[in-house]
């Protein structure tokens, strides 16, 4: 396997600062939108990496968050609804030297683009995918999305939604994603760490971002965004460490049968049977279990669920080409001439 390490990607000149990644376009998200924070984090993280600006391509579909490429002073492609992932697949495989990012939303990636989401992840295309999840259709002015809560009243569901929501992290894991993480837009240090790790991952790096929509779904993630309640409602995943949370760090998660449950203890004296997070586990079972915790009384996990290295689509593609070149003619004329019937 070839190592397409970030460290090997050619960079040029001194490290740019984050402003170098801001385009000259006015950012046109609503004041107070969660997207601003993510944009700032991404610009900052990119500036910290030793990759020159022209090597980045930002691809998006349609939706509020899909305006993202216009605000990055890199190469960018704002495409059509749901199709950012196959476009990004073509970009990355055509030129593996690029670092390709995708900005998408809960409607774009999971509804109209749901099919591409599954298949891009299972192919382990080397893309960094940020899914801005605000649990609402914002650009079309307020209809339910695939992540909207059951019973939610919106313009398209005045009597309440009668659909069950889908969990993006669960879906990513079920699609065999090799890097899966979740963060909160407003949590800048947490997001910085996740985005940095996503940037350095080889393969599809999927990041779900809880993001508030001030206009159509204000308070979408209130329980986890509100600093007063947050630490009781989230557990931060750390590789090799037991799952401990709470303001006093006095609660942990352990397994009861197949189900996780919360256990309280005296600070500093965690019981021995707490779940220990292993993001590098070959099987995605543990990560899957964690992803379903947000639907129970347990806290919502934030951080990296899974990070494993597997050959990526472009690596495998290049490898086949190299192999084929060793065993078959590499000039066009031979191919044109060749036929089982021969010349006449």
């Amino acid at each position: 396997m070839h190592d397409h390490g970030l460290e090997k990607l050619p960079g040029s000149g001194p490290l740019p600062d984050s402003r170098k990644f801001s385009s000259d376009q006015m950012v046109r998200w609503c004041p107070g939108c969660g997207d601003f924070a993510v944009l700032a984090v991404v610009q900052k993280v990119l500036a910290s990496l030793d990759i020159s600006r022209e090597k980045y391509a930002f691809i998006s579909g349609i939706g509020c968050s899909s305006r993202f490429p216009y605000y990055m002073n890199t190469y960018g492609f704002h495409s059509i609804h749901g199709r950012a992932l196959p476009i990004a697949t073509g970009v990355k495989c055509a030129n593996p030297e690029l670092q390709v990012w995708v900005a998408t939303g809960d409607g774009d990636a999971l509804s109209i683009g749901g099919n591409h989401f599954i298949h891009t992840l299972r192919r382990n295309v080397d893309l960094k995918v940020i899914l801005f999840n605000n649990r609402i259709y914002g650009l079309t002015k307020g209809q339910i999305s695939p992540t909207s809560e059951f019973g939610k009243k919106t313009k398209s569901t005045p009597w309440g939604s009668i659909e069950y929501p889908i969990n993006p992290v669960t879906m990513a894991l079920a699609s065999e994603a090799t890097f899966v993480a979740r963060g909160i837009a407003a949590d800048v240090p947490g997001m910085t760490e996740i985005i940095t790790r996503a940037a350095k991952h080889h393969g599809t790096a999927f990041v779900e971002v809880f993001q508030n929509c001030v206009v159509f779904n204000n308070g979408a993630w209130k329980e986890v965004e509100d600093k007063a309640t947050r630490e009781e409602r989230v557990v931060r995943l750390q590789h090799g460490k037991p799952l401990i949370f709470g303001k006093e760090m006095n609660k942990g998660i352990r397994l009861r049968g197949m189900d996780p449950e919360v256990v309280e203890f005296l600070p500093g004296q965690p019981p021995k049977d707490l779940m220990v997070h292993d993001e590098k586990a070959e099987s995605p079972h543990g990560a899957y279990l964690l992803s379903k915790m947000s639907e129970t009384a347990c806290p919502i996990p934030l951080g990296v669920f899974r990070a494993v290295r597997q050959p990526t689509l472009h690596e495998l593609m290049e490898e086949q080409i190299i192999k084929a070149r060793q065993s078959a003619p590499t000039d066009l004329q031979t191919v044109l001439n060749a036929s089982e019937e021969g010349g006449a």
Binding site: E54, G90, N95, A324, L332, N337, A344
Partner: protein, 621 residues
């Protein structure tokens, strides 16, 4: 190989023929397509011009002996030009009663009918709705009927071999092929070699098929079953290397060659669909030439991957059939507004919807011309013959790169799976078309157009100093920033239209076969070329005042088309649709052109065009 007979050793007389049409027919599991393809290959080696038409059901393995499961393969070969696979076969090889029932109505009176009499059991006769055995009841008296116990004879030839009964039965198509090789004096070496390589892993089957082929050949020779054999002289051809090629193979090789001529890596993103999948199969082989193929999760992902690859600097291409183009049409609009080069090949089939997936039609012309939302013009090209698919695939790529636009290339099921001899070009002598050079970074603007072509510059991710954003939102002229300005939108719509209109300057003058003015012009496009040319040549030989011309560019239309049309009293447009080009021509030139239309999933017979022209000449239409 020692049993191979050469013509010299033959005792029986040979009759010289100008051309022959043979149809092989049997169950879809009888190996009919394979038998036909082998006969075509041998015919190519024998030096005849040829045209083939495989015709198979949509079912993979239809119930044995059923009428709807009949698979056919027709080949027309000639010492002159074989423009079409032939109107009505001179020979029908029927492997069972159903194959006979479905095909015998096409056999010409007095034609040779070879039937596998072993398959005419009561059960099979019933499945084909025969109340008595046609091989015995005299109902086939207008043909030269030769019943052959194919199954029994194949069994005898393979006696003592370690094979099961079904395995023996599967060799009978080679027995029949051996007979046909004797009858038409075709060389067997190619097929013997092919069998060896095809059955490399099962040497017993290789041996059995070879034996069956040789035994069938010897049987025809020794039994004097046919009384005589036939010779069709070599067709005159320009010197060079020839091979048989299907339209889909030619598209694949054309795309490969375009990649070579443009210096761009080829990307082919596609989703399996009949009858276009062979292009994906073919290109997937050529990883040795650096081709990147991608079997996408759906039609939309297929074209989007190609758009992405084009954004990154590859030659982005995709192929499909009508239903796939429907799914791709939003992405086609995207490719048009971001002005990236892209080639979309449509191997048309019977529609709408799933329609007749394995049959041919030309009913996607409107879709190609108009099937997108917004003002969204793009060049539309159409190939005329299987070999022509090579040239038009290259032309589509050349225009796409030069004008920075998606280009639609129309082929159809008839061209896609039909074959003809193709003279292999010398790739080093074909004109190259690398993408235009970029301005210096400080002068670069994403939508600053070339004044000649109106194409925008193609700056690629990875190039320092050219960082820019493209997208589906309308962009400001020159700068390429998002723009909602009404004046700008209209300007951009008009610029995009003007750019496509400029492609007309690429189109060579229309070639007319026959008088350059006069009574009747037959105007065709796409796969009707063969039937039209054959019919018109025949009429001209009889002294009829008729000419024909063929369109390979459907958008924009050739600049001289209006003039050419106006020189004739009547214009006849045969199409495998309900009059789509007729509609376009009437709209464009205000001329009362006449349609000849057919939507039966079948191509035109030469006779159908012949009689339509005669009716026009006689003032009956």
């Amino acid at each position: 190989m020692n049993k191979l007979k050469t013509a010299k050793s033959r005792q029986q007389p040979a009759e010289e023929l100008e051309s022959v049409t043979i149809r092989f027919a049997g169950d879809s599991g009888d190996g009919i397509q394979l038998t036909g393809a082998q006969f075509s290959t041998a015919t190519g080696i024998a030096g005849n011009d040829l045209s083939t038409f495989p015709d198979y059901p949509a079912d993979i393995r239809a119930p044995m002996g059923s009428l709807f499961g009949v698979s056919g393969y027709q080949i027309h070969f000639s010492s002159g030009r074989a423009f079409t696979p032939g109107d009505s076969p001179d020979v029908l090889v029927a492997m069972n009663p159903a194959a006979l029932k479905v095909n015998v109505k096409d056999l010409r009176k007095g034609g040779l009918l070879i039937a596998n009499s072993d398959a005419f059991s009561l059960q099979n006769l019933a499945k084909a709705a025969y109340t008595s055995n046609p091989l015995e009841d005299g109902s086939l008296s207008e043909f030269r009927l030769i019943p052959v116990e194919l199954s029994r004879r194949t069994g005898e030839a393979l006696q003592g071999m370690p094979l099961t009964k079904p395995q023996v039965e599967r060799c009978k198509n080679f027995y029949a092929l051996g007979m046909m090789y004797w009858l038409y004096d075709r060389p067997m070496e190619g097929t013997l070699k092919w069998i060896e390589s095809k059955f490399k892993k099962t040497p017993a089957m290789a041996e059995a098929n070879k034996k069956a082929l040789l035994a069938g050949n010897a049987f025809a020779e020794t039994t004097e079953l046919f009384g005589q054999y036939y010779r069709v002289k070599k067709a005159p051809a320009e010197p060079g290397t020839y091979r048989n090629i299907t339209g889909n193979e030619a598209v694949a090789l054309g795309l490969l060659t375009a990649s070579h001529l443009s210096g761009l890596q080829l990307w082919y993103g596609s989703y399996p669909i009949t009858p276009a999948s062979e292009i994906l199969h073919e290109l997937s082989h050529y990883k040795n030439l650096g081709v990147k193929t991608f079997q996408a999760e759906d039609e939309i992902a297929a074209i989007c991957s190609s758009i992405g690859a084009a954004f990154a600097g590859s030659l982005g291409t995709t192929g499909t059939s009508g239903p796939g183009v429907s799914l791709k049409s939003e992405a086609l609009g995207l490719a048009a507004i971001v002005e990236l080069p892209l080639v979309i090949v449509n191997i048309q089939r019977g529609g709408p919807s799933t329609g007749l997936p394995t049959k041919t039609e030309q009913s996607d012309l409107f879709q190609a011309l108009y099937g997108r939302h917004g003002e969204c013009p793009m060049p539309v090209l159409a190939a005329a013959t299987p070999g022509d698919c090579f040239r038009m695939a290259i032309e589509a790529c050349r225009i796409a790169i030069k004008y920075m636009t998606p280009v639609l290339l129309l082929s159809d099921g008839f061209l896609g799976i039909g074959s003809e001899p193709w003279r292999v070009p010398d790739a080093s002598k074909l004109p190259q078309f690398p993408p235009p050079k970029l301005p210096a970074p400080e002068k670069f603007k994403p939508y600053q157009r070339d004044p000649q072509t109106l194409a925008r510059p193609w700056a690629l991710p990875g190039m320092s100093g050219y960082e820019h954003r493209v997208g589906g939102l309308e962009k400001a002229d020159v700068t390429g920033t998002v723009s909602y300005d009404p004046e700008n939108h209209e300007r951009m719509c008009r610029l995009r239209q003007a750019k496509i209109d400029k492609v007309a300057s690429e189109i060579p003058p229309i070639e007319v076969l026959g008088p350059t003015r006069g009574k009747v012009l037959v105007l065709g496009w796409g796969s009707t070329y063969g039937a039209i040319t054959a019919a018109v040549s025949r009429l001209q030989a009889k002294g009829e005042p008729v000419a024909c011309a063929h369109l390979r560019y459907l958008n924009p239309l050739p600049s001289d088309l209006g003039q050419v049309l106006s020189r004739y009293e009547r214009v006849l447009v045969p199409e495998l649709n309900l009059g789509q080009l007729v509609h376009v021509l009437r709209d464009r030139y205000l001329l009362d052109v006449q349609g000849l239309n057919k939507v039966k999933g079948q191509s035109f017979k030469v006779a159908e065009i012949d009689s339509a022209v005669m009716a026009l000449l006689a003032g009956r239409a």
